[in-house]
Symmetry: C2
Amino acid sequence: MSQRKRRVDPNQPIVLPNDASEEAYLIQRGWACVYKLLPDGSRQVLSFSLPGDIVGLPGLSLEGASPFWFESLTEVEISSISSATLFRGLASEPAVARAMQWSVALESAILIERLISLGRRSALVRTAHFILELATRLSLIGEDTRRGFDCPVNQYWLADALGLTAIHLNRVLRELREAHLLTMRSGHVEIHNFEGLRELAAFDADYLTPPKRRH
Amino acid sequence: MSQRKRRVDPNQPIVLPNDASEEAYLIQRGWACVYKLLPDGSRQVLSFSLPGDIVGLPGLSLEGASPFWFESLTEVEISSISSATLFRGLASEPAVARAMQWSVALESAILIERLISLGRRSALVRTAHFILELATRLSLIGEDTRRGFDCPVNQYWLADALGLTAIHLNRVLRELREAHLLTMRSGHVEIHNFEGLRELAAFDADYLTPPKRRH
DNA sequence: CGAAACATTGACACGCTTCAACAGTGGTGG
DNA sequence: CCACCACTGTTGAAGCGTGTCAATGTTTCG
């Protein structure tokens, strides 16, 4: 269904706030992120988008401008899907409809879990939980992440996703390193003790796993 | 489309975690809320549900148990819609599909705004912002909330929605009261200075307002 | 080689939590 | 009708987690 396919350099805006573009984007390669800039200059990252993710779905029905930035972190390949073709496919192809529903449900589940993290988990637990979420999402698209994974997110971006300052996140990462749980440096996360992390974060991957078809 | 209509007493669970009920709920009267209980006993409120809200939509396509509580705050009237009839209506009635999309988009927008609050706004601003959100949502369903509104949410619930302790929220509410912005007591919010609040919270209601149909 | 981006550290300040206690309020039963 | 109790709201004091400010080290890349 995808239409225009595009390659984007690292750290390039893809959609600017108040663009009224009526399309969704499918990430095919690379990492991107969606964030909001507040009046005081601070930044809240809403989501990191990985290959296979669809960005902008729930916003489509608003047919208006979104107040968020959508930006590449690495070199990225994306295809855009116009709202019109999407709705057509949604009506005619049940498989497409199911995929869309799953995509929206997953996005919402991830959002909810971060809300819980920001509201009720300490910086340490929150950080561990988020790394495990990334590891799990990557493993769902075929990467083996048990011992680590490439993660092109610097400490500023990560801090802005976790509601922390980069400085404090740095201390948290040191703590995780000194506890022999994980090391994050120069674009790579090394997981030293997966089980220990899972326990620290009370991480349960259920919210990320696609529904098993029953009957 | 609604099927069974039900009346529920205040403070009664409606859906328990790990119930695998395949239906969504339309609130017709009263307030309810969705929350998660963490292993350490703390609680994060995910949403307060007001009349007209639909609860459980994105979760439907997961066809599995949700890990959340759904509970009444006041006496509540709800009707349930089974996933089957919902999908049928969705396929045959474009108006239904649009309404669902709007409902999902709104829910997601509210979630995102709270994520931003928890991540990047102080307790004072966060609280003011949330009260204004409630006021705006109520005004969209016909209540005049400029000078205040009934709000059957005690300080414990509100604190658990805002990621604060009830004790600190109490101090924040005192601060708002002493700044002549709002008073919250015994189930009622009195707004003394709407503009002042809006300025303090940098509140922009756009994210809550339904899309204007163009042309 | 130099410059910019990113990571790290220390000292200190502040916002929010914790713990403990008490006051107000409404509902219930004796 | 009043005593009692549960629930909710309020306050103070102290401690801790996170933020702020300022500086330095490290890596990357032109």
